[in-house]
Amino acid sequence: MMSNLHDVIRLEGFLSRQEVCMEAGNQSTSDIVLEGVRKRFELAKGQVIDAVEHVDLNIAGGEFIALIGPSGCGKSTLLRMVAGLETPSHGQIKIAGQTPNECIKQQKLGIAMQEHGLMPWLSAWDNIALPFRLAGLPVDIDRVHELLALVGLDEFANALPKQLSGGMKQRVSIARALALEPQVLILDEPFGALDAVTRRLMNNELQRIWSRKPTTTILVTHSVEEAVFLADRVCLMSPRPGRLALVEPITLERPRSLETMQTAEFRNLLAKLTAALDEVCMSAPAQ
């Protein structure tokens, strides 16, 4: 009886939080605006490399954006600039009217990378609780449990990362990114190191997690399939210096499932974007 009551209270808490976030999304508080963003890296003795050249992009609140492009086209650099880990050489980035640096100070950003970066000495539970501790906030125990359940790892709460499979580690890493209920989720090839089958399952999982609470998300990926499956819009970047070569809206209905990948619409989009990607790669001088 008591535990039932507890569950109801937890469920209510979860729903109300979700609703609040949905409303916030509708008010477009997590709009991301990129204006004439460039990044130039200085190498030795006046040598420079233009990693990103003039990117303009508006991302609506609650939108899922996928960035694809050839290796070294500056997609990760662009992502790192949005995450406040690099500063643009020119132009500006505003997230809900604030600079990325102001945003990260208020813990409005969650990131998950290809290298999961979990702390090997902490259990899955403690890894997900770490953002609270690093931000100097009291650990929300219910929230941590809820996230573990969300990524399907409630039985592995006490497992150390070395005891988890690659896919499980990435799930913990995504749960960790979601811990402080960020307004913007930044994913840099989170499943890049996984095998094809696991990767497809993880995409399905991510899609499910994301649909339960649509958060403005930017995903960098090498896989066109992954981009089409997950995103509202796919942005194709040209080889270095990176520019936006094509922005393709993905109109596939949500929620999407593994069956979505079998539809003609999905295959057409996939074919179109793959051809476009081949084209930008080919038109560029060999690197």
Partner: protein
């Protein structure tokens, strides 16, 4: 069961048995006096006849060595924490650490004696001093070797990763990252700490196994002196085994 474990001991440690056998043979064949070279039998007898005495002295040396090691570790850890917060401090301390490490202990001891006098407390000071710098260097490099991806993660939460404002990062990420380094430092230092304590006792001590060695030798009690040396070797191996075990046991949990 017994035969199995006996044969395992034999297969692992036959080298030691061979050495003891050769030693006994050498003494018997040359018919050497105990003052020149005591036989293994005489050494073991001396050890057993004065068991209480040797146990007390061995305990004293163990306590001095581990006390010095613990103090050195504590001091090294605290100063490494300060150096991490204020990198200018590490610019001063790191070269000094290397310098001190390269001074032989025999040259180093007389200086300390001038300042602190003879006795156990000076042995403790010497052991602490020589354990401090390796602990400091290992701990500091552990703090500084946090992988970039982990730093990025902390940055993305608005958590500073350096200086005083990075204390949360230090507490939750940098400090635990350094545990394998500190375990390595302890494994390498434990036998050294014992050696340093023995040498210091030998040179300036008033008790402990090192002191027993020199005292018994001047009394021409070579069996007693060798017994102390044997006990010191056993202790040194024990120290190494214990800290290797700890290192192996806990390092595992630091691999992702």
């Amino acid at each position: 069961m017994v035969r199995q474990s006996l044969s395992r001991i034999w297969s692992r440690y036959w080298g030691i048995f061979l050495l003891v056998g050769l030693w006994q043979l050498f003494v018997s064949v040359n018919n050497l006096n105990t003052i020149v070279a005591p036989s293994p039998q005489a050494v073991v007898l001396s050890l057993l006849n004065n068991a209480d005495y040797f146990a007390a002295e061995a305990l004293r040396t163990t306590l001095t060595a581990s006390g010095g090691l613990a103090l050195g570790l504590l001091l090294g850890f605290v100063i490494a924490c300060l150096s991490w917060t204020a990198p200018s401090l590490s610019g001063v301390l790191t070269p000094m650490a290397l310098l001190i490490r390269s001074i032989p202990i025999v040259a180093f001891v007389p200086i300390i004696v001038r300042v602190a006098g003879y006795g156990t407390h000076t042995v403790l000071i010497v052991t602490t001093f020589l354990s401090f710098f390796p602990c400091y260097v290992f701990a500091l490099s552990g703090f500084q070797e946090v992988a970039q991806v982990r730093k990025d993660f902390c940055c993305s939460l608005g958590c500073s990763t350096s200086g005083f404002r990075g204390w949360r990062f230090f507490r939750h990420v940098a400090m635990p990252s350094a545990v394998p380094n500190i375990l390595t430092a302890l494994r390498l230092l434990a036998p050294t700490a014992l050696l340093v304590a023995l040498v210091a006792e030998f040179l300036i001590g008033t008790d402990g196994l090192g002191y027993v060695m020199i005292r018994a030798r001047s009394d021409m009690e070579m069996d007693k002196s060798w017994a102390a040396a044997l006990l010191a070797s056993a202790l040194s191996v024990l120290f190494f085994v214990i800290f290797s075990y700890l290192d192996k046991k806990y390092r595992n949990n630091w691999q992702a």
